[in-house]
Amino acid sequence: MIQYIIRRVLYAFPLLLGVNILTFVLFFVVNSPEDMARMQLGHKHVTEQAVENWKQQRGYHLPLLWNAEAGGAGKVTETIFFQKSAGLFWFDFGISDSDRRNIGADIKQRMWPSLAVALPTLVLGLITNICVALLMVLFRRSYLEFGGIVLCVVLMSVSSLFYIIGGQFFIGKVLKLVPISGYDGGLQALKFIVLPIVIGVLSGIGSGARWYRTLFLEEVEKDYVRTARAKGLSETQVLFRHVLKNAMIPILTGVVVVLPLLFMGSLIMESFFSIPGLGSYTIDAINSQDFAIVRSMVFLGSVLYIFGLLLTDISYTLVDPRVRLS
């Protein structure tokens, strides 16, 4: 088990290196630090000196990948790639390109609002989807199930944007139950996060409940369920004591992968509801073409994803007695 974890952690390094190279190449294949400087400084009417200054301040004055002028190890280390990537591995994200803010501090501050919305959405969504799916399976081959399936297909055919717009319009504007958007610290946050959570849960029901239903149905057809019925268990007992337990394995482990990623927040939700989380942070960075922030977020996302994969494997051993890591 411990050996397995060590192996996976070691494997994360080449992965993260690949991620870094990929983002680096993507940005610099058509773009040069020169262009970035001009873009940030406001295009054409800037002096050479201003550009040089900009690059110097942000560490873009070095060569991209290979520094022929430096000696020894400096050929590799004194480059933009090395300078910018190495820090990431110990979570030193550096400063943003546009306004030279400390990215690490921004992330620390902004991940909590993200989490405040994303975590309840995930948990409540999971519970709702399982309940709906269980109901459909319990009443299988009835009109209730048929209606449920139809409703699920209809729900999943609606774009998530419409859930948000519709929710903001009806709950926020017409009924005036909660503010349409915004955020506040402390307990005040509650009234702002209710709407995004409700909408997040609602928009996920269609595909979620449908997917869980197929998982449940797959289990229902297995031999051990027949044994359970032959023991004299009623249909409900069979579902709750046997089927649910087995079907929860793929459901839970599927959820565990995304758990760490919850810190990243949801891009669309946060920008629609003006929640100052990492999602809206990322969108702003994309719109202002801030390479430093985008690269940091890509790196952070990858780390969290790889961590999620590891968590998944570990959680398998916890919930499924058949699985052992080796």
Binding site: P14, L15, G18, V19, L22, T23, L26, F27, V29, V30, N31, D35, V153, V154, M156, S157, V158, S159, S160, L161, F162, I165, Q168, F169, K173, E218, L261, M264, L267, I268, S271, T282, I283, I286, N287, Q289, V294, M297, V298, G301, S302, Y305, I306, L309
Partner: protein, 443 residues
């Protein structure tokens, strides 16, 4: 005749789909699943709706230089000229004869007045919109309906009669009837809308006065292109990598797994965003290559498809790898290697045909999620070009107007209706395809 990049690819794809359908219709192994789709009423009706959307998309993919102006227009544009050219000044509600907002106007006697001005085209033929509008709309609608319903009904009844007694047809009697009804309703609906559109803005006009119905119809092509071309780009990657990894194992497998874990670990939105930024910069630097706005928008659409394709092959690849791992241990594969069949041939003869059902199912399933993804991406400005007609851009443009009092709701409603119909049809069709081809679901 002007052939845009996406046009060319769409027609390549169309030819591919026709070849595939002919192959499936001829292959006796396919008869059973095809017949199962043929007997599913929902499946056939949704297929009909999808085909209708595809037809619109194809009409919109044949471009040429318009005679009167030097614009590049499509066959569909030509056909919808009345709606396309009847622009108003700004917002107007569906079936309105007046603009949505009050304006300062000069009366005949020279005095200024603060009122709703009449529209340039919508309801312009009416003398007194207040009293005549409702009656006129009703008349025009009935006229359009009747004009199309009679010929449509006759043709459909004749067709149904003709094929009624064919044995062994792939489509069952009941679903043929349902399909006939669907076609009837689509045809009459289109005719009615067309009839009304030459007098009114059926779904209103947007901020710059463009007809919303026209926008929504034009967006069909964008949705289809993203839903299909992306798949076209993603499939070869997924199939080649997935099968090679599963079949050869060892370092090939390790490399491919490394590749897709790396790609997967980058949050996909960020990857798409970064790639789109690159494309934007590239296009800004090489402006001279893009002669006109429409070519430029088209390139961006193509790049978006490529980017989506490159970021989304990993899921299918992983499934195919797992399936190939299973298949290579199958006894018929072992028997083939015992018979001295070369590995290359085993791949093509034994592995590839037996994973194709997974590919087919995932292609159909991915379609609807891609159409939905387009809207979201366009919303965060990393989707299609802002000048391209797309449902995402429509929503993006309209959502700020939700705060207005009274609300400008028609752009949202229009994009909602069109998108919902397309995605729902795609989802329902995907369901019946999966039921027919997934071996685990066969009874």
């Amino acid at each position: 005749m002007v052939v845009l990049w996406t046009d060319a690819l769409i027609f390549v794809l169309l030819i591919g789909m026709i070849v595939l359908s002919v192959y499936m219709l001829r292959n006796p192994r396919m008869t059973r699943p095809l017949r199962q789709i043929g007997t599913s009423k929902t499946g056939m009706v949704s297929l009909t709706v999808l085909l209708f959307f595809v037809a619109v998309g194809l009409l919109d993919s044949m471009h040429f230089h318009s005679k009167d102006s030097n614009e590049i227009v499509s066959v569909l544009d030509q056909w919808l000229s009345p709606i396309r050219l009847h622009g108003e000044k700004t917002y107007s509600a569906p079936f309105a004869a007046h603009l949505f907002g009050k304006e300062l106007m000069v009366l005949e006697d020279g005095g200024p007045v603060w009122a709703y001005p009449r529209l340039q085209y919508g309801g312009a033929h009416l003398d007194d919109p207040e009293s005549e509008l409702f009656y006129d709309v009703l008349m025009k609608a009935s006229f359009g309906f009747i004009k199309s319903a009679i010929p449509a009904a006759i043709v459909l009844v004749l067709l149904v009669q003709k094929f009624r007694h064919r044995q062994n047809a792939l489509i069952s009697q009941a679903s043929a009837k349902a399909v006939a009804w669907t076609i009837f309703w689509i045809v009459t609906l289109c005719a009615t809308l067309l009839e009304l559109s030459s007098y009114y803005h059926v779904l209103g006009t947007d901020k710059v006065g463009e007809d919303v119905l026209y926008q929504a119809i034009k967006s069909i092509r964008t949705g289809l292109v993203i839903g299909t071309l992306t798949t076209l780009i993603m499939l070869p990657l997924a199939i080649v990598f997935g099968i090679l990894a599963g079949f050869f194992r060892g370092w090939v497998d390790d490399t491919i797994q490394y590749l897709y874990t790396t790609l997967n670990s980058i949050p996909s939105v960020l990857l798409i965003a970064a790639s789109i930024l690159v494309v934007q910069v590239y296009m800004a630097k090489n402006e001279e290559q893009f002669t006109s706005l429409i070519v430029r928008a088209d390139m961006r659409l193509l790049f978006l498809c490529i980017i989506l394709g490159v970021t989304s092959w990993t899921g299918l690849c992983r499934m195919l790898r797992a399936e190939t791992l299973k298949l290579r241990e199958m006894e018929y594969v072992q028997a083939a290697s015992a018979l001295g069949v070369r590995r290359r041939i085993i791949l093509f003869r034994h592995i590839l045909p037996n994973v194709m059902h997974i590919v087919l199912i995932s292609v159909v399933l991915d379609f609807s999620s891609l159409v939905l993804a387009e809207a979201v991406l366009s919303y965060i400005n990393i989707g299609v070009d802002p000048t391209t007609h797309s449902w995402g851009n429509m929503i993006n443009g309209a959502r700020l107007e939700m705060a207005r009092e009274p609300v400008v709701w028609w752009s949202l409603t229009a994009s909602f209706l069109f998108m919902f119909t397309l995605v729902l049809a795609a989802n329902l069709f995907a369901d019946s395809v999966r039921d027919a081809f997934d071996p685990r679901r066969m009874g």
